[in-house]
Amino acid sequence: MKLRFVKAALAACLAAAAMSSSRPARAQELQVTGPLKGAPAVRHLRLYRKGRFELAPTASFTLLDEYRRTLLVGGRATYYVTDWLGLGVWGAGGVWSETTTLTNEITSVAQPNVETAINVNHTGGCPGGNCSMPTAGAEPSTIGKSSSQSFANQTARLSWVVAPQATFIPFRGKLAIFNKIFVDTELSLAAGIAFVGIQERGYCGGGGQIPCYEPASFALASQTKFTWTFGVDLTFFPSNLVSFGIEYRALPFYWNPAGFDTRGGGPNGNYPDNQVNSNDDTFKFNQIVTLAVGFSFPTAPKLSE
């Protein structure tokens, strides 16, 4: 039965190959030698980008967050040297954030005990503030339960992003929607560097630092990450002045979104070491979707020949 299936699959592959091999001759490029030889493929093309300056307010939403989602509001300024290349900068600030279901679950369920005392904020669980490093075997009740917002407060936040970038526009075309609406469309790629301001749990447990089980160790500290960024953008041009865009962007860098002590000790540093520091940072792709409304100046685009 299995052999028959393999034979059938091989026969299907061969048939597909045979069909595809006979097609290229029909689709070969036309070598124009007549009066159209040398003529541009498109005449009087609207050059939406060339020589124009674009200002675009943006709203960005983080995707697939583990502990906290962020809404960033900002803008993009780009000057397009040619119709396919622009130089500019995107900047945004985190104006709103919300915890995820996982964060809420940890906040409401997690019992700080001897193993978790340095990972989950036990504010309110240390009567009189007499927190000390729990000893093995201590009853969880002596440490207490996390307060309602304690863990949520220790999760990291995206504060701001500034990304100088180059924008490439390799694809230009049209989109028909419901066979009624026809709009000029461009697919572009943006790549550059990024400075990302974050707030995450401060370092603790090291020499000269407060112990990680102290409530104060769960306070957030500001950091700036330097990384690269890229994005794929689909832009629609309903008019000469205004455009609408939707962009997928990645901001990959190492950080510690939960403020956990996960690495630094044991073989290969794969075990907790009672310290929270850069060893505990994990690589995150940090995906963002951005909506933009662009205004291009001068308001009238040039036309190609």
Binding site: R23, G34, R46, L102, E105, T262
Partner: protein
């Protein structure tokens, strides 16, 4: 006097004759003018495809541009005129495609044929889907489950009732590819919380697909690719079972059949008229049966043993959470789309 009238009439007729000649409408050929025959998609002249006969050049890409001078139109000089003058272009460049075509066609006879040089407001769509089957193998990657991934190969079969509407089935096979993540492990160790996890075995859905948008892109001003965007929705079944993480010593779960609803949005990029790359995001929604986070407090003895009670951890009735949980399994699908039959005919010429 009568002769003077005749001369005046003759003079007026002579004066009016050339004006009438300039403005008159072309006479339609009498007899049975053949209706436009269906045109094979293979004979279609796209911007990068050779036009076998004297087809006008395709409209430029990017749209909204002025149409180039119709220098390639038959009878307007250019190639067709060359046919009447002994194929001088072919004498210079005998390898040119139109000269190859000339060997197959009698261009002189072709040029004498009456054609309807009409301009169509809307061009043909690159691919006609109505009445064709689509076979779509794909691989799906989990997008939203950080604790256990449910990657799966899958296959969709659709039949297009019209150019924009299809009905079909889609199936995923997950078994053996469910994979708990390192993130899950780190969370369990750091916060000592157990998140109920589920394995998937297989899912299948009956879907309707609607294709509201299509378009084309010119890449680097050099090549052109066509694409369309679609949405889909339907319902089906998914088989899942909890991975025992709360009490793995006692709990052993069987597969559950759960009804699901799915919605998706996809993009097809055509390589040719029967083969395309497909990118789709699909959300499979259903009410999940998850493992209970509490363990029975009765005697931990096998069923039927002395001391066994309904509250024993070995009682399967205590294994599941009392409530079902609405679950979104969002997956990114990457695959190929094969349309059968591989060729089709347009009802009208371009």
């Amino acid at each position: 006097m009568k002769q003077a009238r005749r001369w005046l009439l003759l003079a007026a007729a002579l004066v009016l004759l050339p004006q009438a000649a300039y403005a008159q409408q072309k006479k339609k050929p009498k007899g049975n003018t053949p209706a436009p025959a269906p045109v094979s998609a293979d004979a279609d002249a796209d911007s990068t495809t050779p036009a076998p006969a004297a087809t006008p050049p395709a409209a430029p890409e990017g749209g909204d541009q002025a149409t180039p001078p119709a220098t390639g139109e038959p009878g307007a000089g250019g190639e067709a005129a060359g046919a009447d003058t002994g194929m001088d272009i072919c004498q210079i460049t005998p390898d040119a495609p139109q000269c190859q075509a000339a060997k197959e066609f009698n261009l002189g006879a072709e040029a004498k044929k009456t054609i309807r040089a009409e301009v169509y407001a809307v061009q043909q769509q690159y691919v006609l889907k109505g009445g064709r089957f689509e076979i779509q193998p794909f691989f799906a990657f989990t997008l939203n489950d950080q604790f256990v991934s449910h990657d799966a190969p899958g296959l969709a079969l659709n039949y297009y009732l019209t150019q924009v509407l299809a009905v079909g089935v889609v199936g995923n096979w997950y078994d053996g590819l469910n994979s708990p993540s390192d993130f899950d492990f780190q969370n369990r160790r750091a916060a000592h919380i157990a998140i109920p996890l589920n394995d998937y075995q297989v899912s299948g859905d009956l879907n309707f697909t609607y294709v509201p948008m299509y378009g084309k892109f010119a890449g680097f001003g050099d090549f052109i690719f066509n694409y369309d965007g679609y949405i889909l929705g339907g319902l089906g079944l998914i088989r899942t079972k909890p991975i025992p993480v709360i009490d793995p010593d006692n709990r052993l779960f069987n597969w559950n059949n759960l009804i699901n609803f799915d919605v998706g949005i996809g993009l097809r990029i055509f390589f040719n008229r029967w083969l395309a790359a497909v990118f789709e995001v699909r959300d499979i929604m259903y009410f999940e049966k998850i493992e209970s986070t509490s363990v029975g407090t009765g005697p931990d003895v096998p069923i039927g043993a002395t001391g066994y009670s309904s509250n024993s951890p070995t009682n399967p009735a205590t294994w599941y959470d009392s409530q079902t949980h609405f679950t979104n399994d969002i997956q990114m699908q990457v695959g190929l789309s094969v349309f059968l039959p591989t060729s089709f005919e347009y009802a009208l010429p371009k």
